[in-house]
Symmetry: C2
Subunit: 374 residues, 2 copies
Amino acid sequence: MANYLVRCRQCGKIFGKEYKLFKCSCGGVLEVLIDIMNSKWSVGKDAEGIFRYSSLLPDLPQQISLGEGKTPILAKSSDGLTFYFKLEYLNPTGSFKDRGSAIAVSKAVELGVSEVLEDSSGNTGISISAYAARAGIKARIYVPSDIPLGKYLLIKSFGAEVVRAGTRDEASRKVLSDLSDEGYYIGHTWNPYFIEGTKTFAYEVYEVLKSVDYVITPVASGTLLLGVWKGFNELVELGLTSSTPKLVGVQACGYDSLNNYLSNVITTECVEPTSLADAIRLTNAPRLPYIADAIRRSEGFLAVVNDELIIKALKELYGMGLAVEPTSAAAYAAFKLVRKELSGKVLIPLTGSGLKYVGGVESPLYKVFVSGPN
Amino acid sequence: MANYLVRCRQCGKIFGKEYKLFKCSCGGVLEVLIDIMNSKWSVGKDAEGIFRYSSLLPDLPQQISLGEGKTPILAKSSDGLTFYFKLEYLNPTGSFKDRGSAIAVSKAVELGVSEVLEDSSGNTGISISAYAARAGIKARIYVPSDIPLGKYLLIKSFGAEVVRAGTRDEASRKVLSDLSDEGYYIGHTWNPYFIEGTKTFAYEVYEVLKSVDYVITPVASGTLLLGVWKGFNELVELGLTSSTPKLVGVQACGYDSLNNYLSNVITTECVEPTSLADAIRLTNAPRLPYIADAIRRSEGFLAVVNDELIIKALKELYGMGLAVEPTSAAAYAAFKLVRKELSGKVLIPLTGSGLKYVGGVESPLYKVFVSGPN
């Protein structure tokens, strides 16, 4: 496993592996720096889940895995453009978040904490709950009050405590104000180890496709986009690939927080805030400037979609047999919106499972596929 | 891809690849015989899903895949016994059925049919609907009237027509009486190509673990158990492994149809029929005698579990971070019931996803984890 240290992105201060707080003393976001120069690419055959890449992951005494990663890549083509879906919704708890939880919870185990606290629109809460259960530590999850019933139920099923806390943004604030000395805040919006897990997405793309020209990814707290960026940059540093893909960040109407940071934006008409893309309804993500920076440096851009486009995309995806959540459809909607700008190999991660949405008449799937107008 | 023919298990009659009926003229169940002698083991790198094993699969002009297979295997140990979970619920539509649908729907495409008909407790209906959508053909699915809402909703979302038909057994009868000349009955309880997909489960186990001593699998129509049996027998024929595992069939109270065929049975006390293991509530599976034969020849046995054991097992599995459906918990419950009989390497497929059950207050998960007694 790789040597590493923790650094503040704001003031540059360096911390050791034992540092337990979720942010720098200056208030800045932390990042993990892997000693790439003394590491090498190697894929373990017997390791579980993403720990097969442990030569490039932080050195951790215990590996908490549920078999995450190795998600299928399906090739499609239309009008002369080849594009790929990576089915991240087939991760153990139904979203790409499992990559991040594997590393973040393994770190929590190393730190010896007995309880982890997390704020989440649902997917990360489910994921952290499952990995905490696997590790035998308690989890307390702060969620928006209107969390889809299925997501709520899954968190409860993994044995976590659930705190309903108003909007998604309010959940972010409440978890921090409730934090005591004993609790460990594992929140993915801040936790630097989480990104160490999501970067394995890039490693897997490299293993199968070698390189891609564009990655189109939904953005709320930016853990997937920043992981993709970090992973591909490490591959360049290792000399395995010569270039990084252009990143297209996807946000939905009413929650296009990156708009304040970027000038390169393609947006559809926004009349109402999204009610469908519930996994990206966050406006105060601590890493926003760094997400914008990654998009800019990759020569990518921001795409903003509305619910009308999301519904269309959702129907098309199910028509291809892909059971995704509405937020994943936002990425495909963005792809369709901006496709004139694209060339080469385009990769679209389908981030979350539609299976969590099959609840009652209040389910978005129910509204789109059963009771809604055609 | 391998050469093959179709044979009746009852009268031995041989049919060519173009044979379109789901059973023999004598009423017997059909099976696909692969020309193993002229085939060899080889794993394709660029193929999608289970088609990486196409050297041992029926020769098919089009491969309809959603990235099925390559599911994680997690090792566990307790009291000196090592056992393994294979997370079949992480297949594209949330169950092992996707392996079967990939081959069966690819065959339907070759036969040029425009609509496939299927009867199902839910999982196969979801799976066939998704693969039919992927292939661009229509699907009509016959389900029991009390199908969990989530499963119903998913079938609808993939664009299939849903027919509610009383009990699971009644759905089996109704689909056949509704069958016209244009419709193609793809029902997994009969379809021989379906087993060609599920046998890839054995190939994957061989790739990772080489051999196992026991496989503990839920049985309704027997497609997984028979696939496991066929796959391991082909590996023996190919000279890759020397023995086949012992098969432990798992059924639930009230639906222990194999009890009439087997003498080697371990059963818990049955007071009421299961209300939880909805995926194995079938009593008239056409392949019952062949399932019993496979269990007998493997030197395995039948285990029968009740809802009390299933609830306990379900709680334990979620406590390990594994989001399965109650029927998968039946397999783990059986493992716990019979573990004194077991030795060596034991494999437990976790067959279906709990994510399909996260509906409203009528969900089994809701009853076990939220409103139920502790």
